[in-house]
């Protein structure tokens, strides 16, 4: 197991000791959401500004099934993953032929469309009031209403998700998506149907978003209308960029920073988004690779300093 995994497992164990269980749980849910986005954003170079479409759709469907039928949690999760993937296939199909600003605007516009459907369809979604009363049925005798039990469940699913995403980005597909990001014309020329593969990235990212959406609905017992709104889509982009879109672990770190800031600082200071804005500006100006790059640069800076100090001493030079 690599050092990154040791750090993450340690964080999984320590987090519920340090922060409220709900926040700790939300961090890993948001991290799953970010992993899905980053396959598009970091690996394929597609800035999707509509990820909450898949997150929210899955949350509503799962919430409805849990409320009405109280079906098995694993079945609900599987359905959520499918809903996320299918909605992403729909949106992706319309978007992958576009590029640049058109692509971003289209993901955003389709997100708005889903938002207005949820807003209008009050009999099912509850409109502005959200869809409340979602339970967490027990699994194998474990009572998920216990915050810690649910935390452990979510953290385990996060670790599985991270492992799955690691396999995906280390597979040929991971390389091919990066090649498409780097140069779509050449990727076509060497034999890849770039739009089709981008669609695949959408579907995989949508599946991750769907999983996150269901876990989110179960965490708070409600699907708020915001769960399918553009602010939510923006937040996951934001968090991923702050963490570092160039690496597998970037969105995980980003989720940590983002949720922790928004939940902790917002209590004491209502203008906390300002802080996020500042963090974002710093990232854009100095660390395009987010926290991950800042960290790597810090270590190479230290190593360089050491290297300079050592020979100076050895020579006895001033």
């Amino acid at each position: 197991m690599s050092r990154a995994w040791l750090v993450i497992v340690a964080a999984v164990v320590l987090l519920p000791v340090v922060v409220r269980h709900a926040i700790a749980t939300e961090i890993w849910i948001f991290a799953i959401f970010g992993l899905g986005l980053n396959l598009l954003l970091g690996y394929t170079g597609l800035l999707s500004f509509g990820q909450s479409t898949f997150f929210g759709s899955a949350a509503y469907v799962a919430g409805y099934l849990l409320k009405q039928y109280g079906i098995n949690v694993f079945v609900v999760l599987a359905i959520g993953v499918v809903v996320g993937a299918v909605s992403a296939a729909l949106v992706g199909y319309l978007c992958v032929q576009r590029s640049g600003l058109y692509f971003i605007m289209l993901t955003f516009a389709l997100n708005q469309m889903f938002y207005f459907i949820a807003y209008q369809w009050t009999s099912v979604t509850g409109g502005e009031d959200g869809m409340p009363g979602i339970g967490r049925p027990a699994v194998l005798g474990v009572d998920f209403r216990q915050p810690l039990a649910y935390y452990v469940f979510v953290a385990a699913l996060f670790l599985v998700s991270l492992w799955v995403m690691k396999r995906i980005v280390e597979s040929p597909l991971g390389k091919i998506l990066q090649a498409i990001r780097e140069n779509e014309v050449r990727a076509l020329s060497v034999g890849y149907n770039a739009p089709r593969l981008k669609l695949l990235a959408f579907v995989i990212g949508g599946a991750f978003s769907g999983l996150a959406g269901v876990l989110y609905a179960m965490l708070f017992g409600i699907v708020p209308l915001e769960a399918i709104g553009f602010v939510f889509s923006g937040n996951v982009v934001f968090a991923t960029l702050i963490g570092g879109s160039g690496s597998l672990y970037g969105p995980v770190i980003g989720s940590f920073v983002f949720i922790w800031l928004s939940e902790s600082v917002s209590v004491v200071w209502a203008r906390w988004p300002l802080l996020l804005g500042v963090a974002f500006v710093i990232v854009v100006l100095f660390f395009r690779g987010g926290c991950v790059e800042a960290w790597a640069r810090f270590w190479s800076w230290r190593a360089a300093r050491r290297a300079r100090v050592v020979p100076a001493n050895a020579d006895g030079a001033p």
């Binding site: 396999r167 995906i168 280390e170 597979s171 040929p172 597909l173 991971g174 390389k175 091919i176 990066q178 090649a179 780097e182 140069n183 014309v185 050449r186 990727a187 076509l188 020329s189 060497v190 034999g191 890849y192 149907n193 770039a194 695949l200 995989i204």
Partner: protein, 250 residues
């Protein structure tokens, strides 16, 4: 039988006919060169062959099969690979990943596309390394494509085409922008490929191709104005006129 037949192929951009009724035949195993002044339509001809652009009229037959209008991403799978006149790589990927991606596209099977680790695809990795070796870039395999020199990027450009194990290799001015030394190296490289692949080579400079080509076609304003062996081309008065005029302008 010819490996490639181009029959009366044309491409018009509005009023400009960039490729005008071109007919040629490339025999398997041969090195076929296309020369001509700037704007003669050489690159456009390649763009038609590789599906980057649809032709206005005419036919392209590859290995007895009509491939006119086949989209770009399917062409590679038929066994046609090209290099570009303007370097066209994956800048932030390592040299090995650049060729690996090109090699994988033509792999025997895409099973495990999204799940198997890339180092498990031995055959693909071997082909990728061999392509880097062919152009003399093995030592730099783990550097990023954007970090190497222009000359090396031109070599990598060629390696991407080789990694696909093509049956037909289309090289668009592989020596473009190279210094005289680098050009010599590239000429030697292309000479080394001769016989291993069927090659169509676009080149600007007459002197380079006279020694290596089996046959030469001269393009001018979209049309083939002469076709034949290097000796025949050298003797052709029309070529001399077109070429001297074109070169003086360019």
């Amino acid at each position: 039988m010819a490996l490639l037949n181009i029959e009366n192929l044309s491409k018009a951009f509005g009023a400009l006919t960039a490729v005008n009724g071109v007919t040629l035949e490339v025999q398997p195993g041969s090195l076929y060169s296309i020369i001509g002044p700037n704007g003669a339509g050489k690159t456009t001809l390649f763009n038609l062959l590789t599906g980057q652009l649809p032709p206005t009229s005419g036919r392209i037959v590859f290995d007895g099969q009509d491939i006119t209008g086949t989209p770009a991403h399917r062409i590679a799978h038929l066994g046609i690979a090209r290099s570009f006149q303007r370097t066209n790589l994956f800048p932030a990927l390592s040299l090995l990943d650049n060729v690996w991606v090109a090699a994988f596209a033509r792999g025997r099977s895409w099973r495990g596309l999204a799940w198997r680790r890339t180092d498990r695809f031995h055959e693909v990795t071997e082909r990728a390394l061999a392509a880097l070796g062919d152009v003399g870039l093995s030592e730099k395999a783990h550097q990023l494509a954007r970090q190497i020199s222009h000359g090396e990027q031109r070599q990598l450009e060629l390696a991407l085409a080789l990694a696909a194990a093509p049956r037909l290799l289309l090289l668009d001015e592989p020596a473009a922008g190279l210094s005289p030394d680098e050009t010599q190296k590239m000429v030697a490289l292309v000479r080394g490929l001769k016989g291993r692949y069927t090659i169509v080579l676009i080149e600007h400079k007459m002197d380079i191709i006279m020694g290596v080509s089996d046959r030469i076609a001269v393009m001018h304003f979209g049309s083939v104005i002469a076709e034949g062996t290097p000796a025949e081309i050298q003797r052709n008065a029309e070529v001399r006129r077109a070429y001297l005029g074109g070169m003086a302008a360019g």
